[in-house]
Symmetry: C2
Subunit: 452 residues, 2 copies
């Protein structure tokens, strides 16, 4: 088995290790840009320096990745507006054709020698606990890993990133909620290689706590806690979801039990068409229902948390009203966002139980009884246990009717989801859900045949 | 309002107070029987005495009630078989045409002068805490009430019994689970009359504790606790259900707010026919389902607790399997017993969610995943939160199919219900339930238009 594992790793290494040509081209580009940036800095009335960060700086990038990150460090006491202005000035000088992007502050993205380059201004602070903006931390990460990662380990980091990509948990964006590059580097470093990491993960008992510098000062309520070696108060794995930790554990065991290359390659799904989706739901005898609306104009890191929050609200509304949700999911493309719920219950009766107060709470009890005593539309009031009960007319007897009503706006929706839906939304009941296959055939294939 | 209340009471008193003729005839019968029993005792090789007990002894019987209770008290050290033999011997001598009944031990029931007479052997014990059988306690109750109830209060007890009868909570049998005669007497005595009792009950905050002799030694978990003045360890109201206490409170308030005679008269229901029952369920859009079987050959005090236990088991089975029970009921006549459940959910899908272990519990998790990994009939295993989940084929997609299966014998049924059903039972699904109106039209009328 050891041989098989090693053979698979050898195969993956060949795919992910950058060749000498790529390394040289990268170095040439970095050197050239560093000189140009330093020249641009001399035009400024203040001091600053250039530092290369990210996976290309650490030697942990995967062959073919074309991302170069260059940070310009300004004095910590520089007002933020000046930092932004100087940052953009340098960026425009180096990349006259570049474009501006915006994270915590603006930066410039350009191209050089076939690489995509981010040119980002930050503050030069004494250590990572003093940061003024999230990007100030990055140079410390690079410095730490430069010191600790040797050539063997950088190779293992590349393999590990490829594995996490293959099983769908690579990326700390809020859509994926998986493992960042830095987190991957720390885990491989801490475990002493890819294979020991896989063996450790297969046996994890979350919450897992890893503190390479043994300096953690805060407690975290996350399934995986990796204390940042450069900041004792930060969990590098804070964004990692419980499911993604479990997924890693599952595939770690798969890889150990049956080492194979396909675990390193993202699975490609064939999309389902409308008929196939309709047939699948029919076979399951469930009742799907979908809320469909225009995709709010947000970056993914804002969009997906809002969609998730909205779906949770809709699912709890459906459950509360008795349209028991078997499973749910969400999809979005540039045009439409979909909140899908698959129900076990198609319809509720015309009557709904409504419990009143205990009979012995006299004032409330008399009020309740008086309210319903002569109401011909209710059954009761009668007594069950110590309480009055009536059976009232139910407002919505189908989930589609419920979702078509104002009730959806009484649950906690994401802010921009709420405003978009307030403008317009559609409810697709039952079979009509299958028509979503036109745009979301792959997502529906995933939904109807889910894998770990 | 006081006048109205008094006017109603006056009306009820006229209905329930025995006239002088009835009192004289009763006394004559009691005197005559006492003499005959005393004569019969002289034939025995031991000493014994006769004591009249029950409502006719206490003057609290309702006009037209024809029950005379005469107890023969034997020495406390007499072996039980001899007590039973002597008791029957006297009974047969006094009532050659009488019949034997059996409670805790056998006794004889006969008729004399238009009255129904129970002739019951018991032990003469020093006080009620020394009893050897439940009936030994009765003479102490009569003695206590003889001492404490005056003529006004006996009149109020009669009115109170009629009220409790009218609202359906009179009787400590295990079908009714209401108020016994003795309990009624103690409550009226303790409150100082019918009206103060009604006013107190309207304001009760269960658990209510009443201890006339202030000697209670035990604690009880009942909504109404009335410590027996003759036995500090006994709650006279132990059998009283929470609903019946609430019902009393409800109707006490009704009587105070709008005094009227009809509250003292049991409501007569018109039976519903099959069409009316079918129409009622259709309007409610619910799915009724009934288990029907031969009524087990048991006295009501055994039958109804068993039916109730069985219904609770069936309801929890239905709820657990997702056929949410809106309401349920049970009926029985001499031939058939019915467990009725009215469902909110007609059908469940072909798939059912089945949660596996957390992925990090490695051995269980691997076992679960291995079991379902290649099973083409399930969806998954997939990961949700930290667990594996599969969606399996559901065994029963309708409640009728579930109840037709062996699953009903896995719930806690009453012993005799279980053996009867093991022999044979029918499941009436949906509309077929309406055919029960042929025998249970009144019960179904009650069910479909329940009152407090």
């Amino acid at each position: 088995m050891s041989d098989e594992f090693d053979a698979v790793l050898e195969d993956i290494r060949e795919r992910v290790d950058p060749g000498p040509g790529e390394r040289e081209r990268l170095q040439a580009v970095v050197d050239e840009l560093t000189t140009e940036i330093e020249t641009a800095i001399t035009d400024l009335p203040i001091e600053a320096d250039v530092v290369q960060v990210g996976s290309t700086a650490r030697g942990t990038w995967i062959a073919g990745d074309r991302d170069v990150d260059l940070f310009v460090r300004f004095p910590a006491d520089l007002p933020r507006e000046e930092l932004e202005a100087y940052g953009l000035q340098i960026g425009r000088q180096v990349f006259p054709e570049g474009r501006e992007e915006y994270a915590e502050h603006p930066y410039v993205v350009g191209q050089r020698g076939g690489f995509d380059v981010d040119l980002v201004p930050c503050y030069a602070v004494a250590d990572a606990t003093q940061i003024q903006s999230a990007v100030d931390r990055t140079p410390f990460h690079t410095e730490y890993l430069d010191e600790h990662l040797d050539d063997d380990l950088t190779g293992d980091v590349r393999v590990c990133k490829q594995f996490l990509t293959g099983i769908g948990v690579y990326g700390s964006d809020l859509r994926t909620r998986g493992f960042s590059g830095y987190l991957t580097e720390l885990l491989v470093l801490e475990c002493g290689g890819f294979r020991p990491f896989v063996e450790a993960a297969a046996d994890w008992h979350p919450p897992v706590k890893i503190d390479p510098e043994d300096h953690g000062r805060a407690t975290f309520d996350d399934p995986l806690v990796v204390i940042d070696p450069t900041d004792p108060e930060r969990n590098v794995a804070a964004v990692c979801s419980e499911s993604n930790v479990a997924r890693l554990q599952h595939y770690a065991r798969e890889l150990l039990a049956d080492p194979r290359v396909d675990l390193f390659l993202p699975a490609e799904r064939d999309p389902l068409d409308t008929d196939a989706v309709a047939a699948a739901f029919e076979k399951r005898e469930t009742t799907p229902v979908a809320l469909v609306f225009e995709t709010p104009d947000l970056v993914e890191d804002d969009l997906y948390p809002q969609l998730r929050k909205s779906l949770a609200g809709i699912v709890s509304l459906l459950d509360r009203e008795g349209f028991d949700v078997l499973r749910s999911d969400l999809f979005a493309d540039d045009e439409r966002a979909v909140l899908l719920a698959e129900l076990e219950v198609l319809e509720r009766p015309a009557v709904a139980r409504h419990e009143g107060p205990p009979v012995h709470v006299r004032q409330h009890a008399e009020g309740f009884f008086g309210r319903y005593e002569s109401d011909e539309t209710v059954t009761g009031p009668f007594i069950e246990g110590d309480r009055y009960v009536v059976e009232r007319e139910r407002e919505h007897t189908t989930a589609a009717a419920l979702l078509d009503s104002g009730a959806v706006f009484e649950v906690a929706l994401g802010t921009h989801v709420e405003s978009t839906m307030a403008n317009d939304y559609d409810v697709l009941p039952g079979e009509e859900v299958a028509t979503l296959a036109e745009d979301f055939g792959v997502e529906l294939a995933d939904y109807l045949d889910p894998r770990p």
